[in-house]
């Protein structure tokens, strides 16, 4: 039974997703000790080879799969760097449905490259007997409340987060990704059907609709289970990283609810975290690579 992590990285003009993926791959090696596959495109890879070096990239990943980008797909998104800076940039995320076919593993943890693996918590997924696991619950670094879940619309279906998806090669997993593809190809229709306001294509929505569909349009006896973690820890794009202290230990500035520019410091130790502020993570990728990389791979940069 082969096990591994799958990540995507498609750079835009400002955000070096590949470098973030390299840092996170080293974190995966340290904490989960499984194979890692990267899905990327030729331009991103070329940039990575020029800026980081091909041997370094190969030392981070066991497999690098190059895919063609769909040039017709346009998906602009507001990227925030705290509450003070916003930029609209392209966000290429239309090919996540390919993850099932592209994964070389029997058991796959499909994670966003900005979901930093700072613990071995996701190792609890292996050999669980579940075909797919995906989470509804999230929590924030400054909440003193339990993890919570959301709906994709006030009266809609539960929102599942495609940030981390566990799947085993199985018919149900294949079907799930097939439905994700179908939703993406008919996004306008599903947007109206499920009444969500976002114009931008979100994999979270496509995944939520696919889960709802495969659960038989209800949630009473779900076929698709949740990951064996309490919830996904989310640092929003209004937050910033204060410091990377050491291995599996970072401190973040988390913006207070409804108080722009007021922060609480939050120390995150041995807990995986989704960093939504891409510039914040970009500012510390060098430090993460330095901390998690071994001497052999660091020589290649």
């Amino acid at each position: 039974m082969t096990r591994g992590v799958l990540m995507y990285a498609h750079n835009n003009s400002e955000i070096d997703y590949l470098k973030i993926a390299c840092a996170n791959a080293l974190m995966v090696k340290k904490n989960l000790d499984v194979g890692i596959t990267l899905v990327t495109d030729s331009k991103t890879l070329q940039w990575g080879e020029d800026s980081l070096s091909a041997p370094f990239i190969n030392s981070c990943f066991d497999n690098v799969i190059e895919v063609d980008k769909n040039k017709v797909f346009i998906n602009n998104r507001i990227f925030s760097d705290t509450s003070y800076t916003n930029k609209i940039l392209p966000f290429y995320n239309c090919n996540h449905w390919q993850a099932y076919a592209l994964s070389p593993y029997d058991e796959t943890l499909f994670i966003d490259c900005d979901y930093l693996i700072m613990s071995s918590a996701l190792a609890r997924c292996w050999d669980s007997g579940n075909d797919i696991m995906v989470n509804r619950t999230i929590y924030s670094p400054i909440d003193d409340a339990p993890p919570y879940s959301k709906l994709i619309d006030n009266s809609g279906i539960p929102l599942y987060w495609a940030t981390v998806v566990y799947f085993k090669k199985s018919l149900i997993a294949e079907n799930l990704f097939y439905v994700v593809r179908h939703v993406e190809e008919n996004y306008e229709y599903y947007k109206n059907l499920y009444c969500f306001s976002s114009g931008m294509f979100r994999n979270d929505y496509a995944m939520s609709i696919a889960v709802h569909t495969l659960n038989g349009y209800n949630n009473t006896l779900p076929v698709i289970r949740e990951l064996p973690i309490s919830g996904l820890l989310m640092s929003w794009d209004k937050d910033d990283i204060q410091n990377v202290n050491s291995i599996n230990d970072i401190t973040i500035y988390a913006e207070k609810k409804d108080k722009t520019g007021e922060y609480i410091l939050s120390r995150i130790k041995n807990t995986d975290i989704h960093i939504m502020n891409k510039w914040a993570i970009s500012r510390v990728t060098g430090r993460l690579i330095e901390l998690y990389g071994d001497d052999t791979c660091l020589e290649d940069i």
Binding site: R124, S128, Y139, I142, D144, R225, I264, R267
Partner: protein, 119 residues
């Protein structure tokens, strides 16, 4: 600003930071107490351990029990299951206790977060 008010606000900030750190530690521990096997998701609780111990004392094996979402799951080896959940329970609660005590004894924001503040 009035000195007393400033101290009160500093204390409020300290409590907010302390509560958030304690809550994160609690959520981490709760997550570590989740155990997935045979397609079932179990929350390791004192109640689950006591129930499985009871089945084990009865000498039962190969039984079906309900997981945390009331999905029936077959457990082949009750003694092994008991051993896994019991050891996980104590590993997690011991770590939780250590972290909880460490945070609880901190008396200001910078010591909770272990950050240096330039004065």
């Amino acid at each position: 600003m009035d000195e007393r008010l400033q101290k009160a606000l500093e204390f409020a900030n300290y409590r907010q930071t302390l509560n958030a750190q304690l809550q994160k530690t609690k959520i981490k521990a709760e997550g570590s107490l989740l155990y997935s096997t045979n397609g079932g998701n179990f929350k390791i609780t004192q109640e689950l351990i006591a129930f499985i111990d009871y089945l084990n004392r009865l000498g039962l094996d190969g039984v079906s029990i309900l997981d945390k979402d009331n999905i029936p799951v077959h457990i082949d080896n009750i003694a092994e299951f008991l051993k896994i959940i019991t050891s996980r329970y104590f590993e997690v609660t011991n770590d939780y206790l250590a972290e909880y005590q460490e945070i609880k004894k901190k008396r200001n924001v910078s010591s909770i977060l272990d950050v240096k503040v330039d004065k």
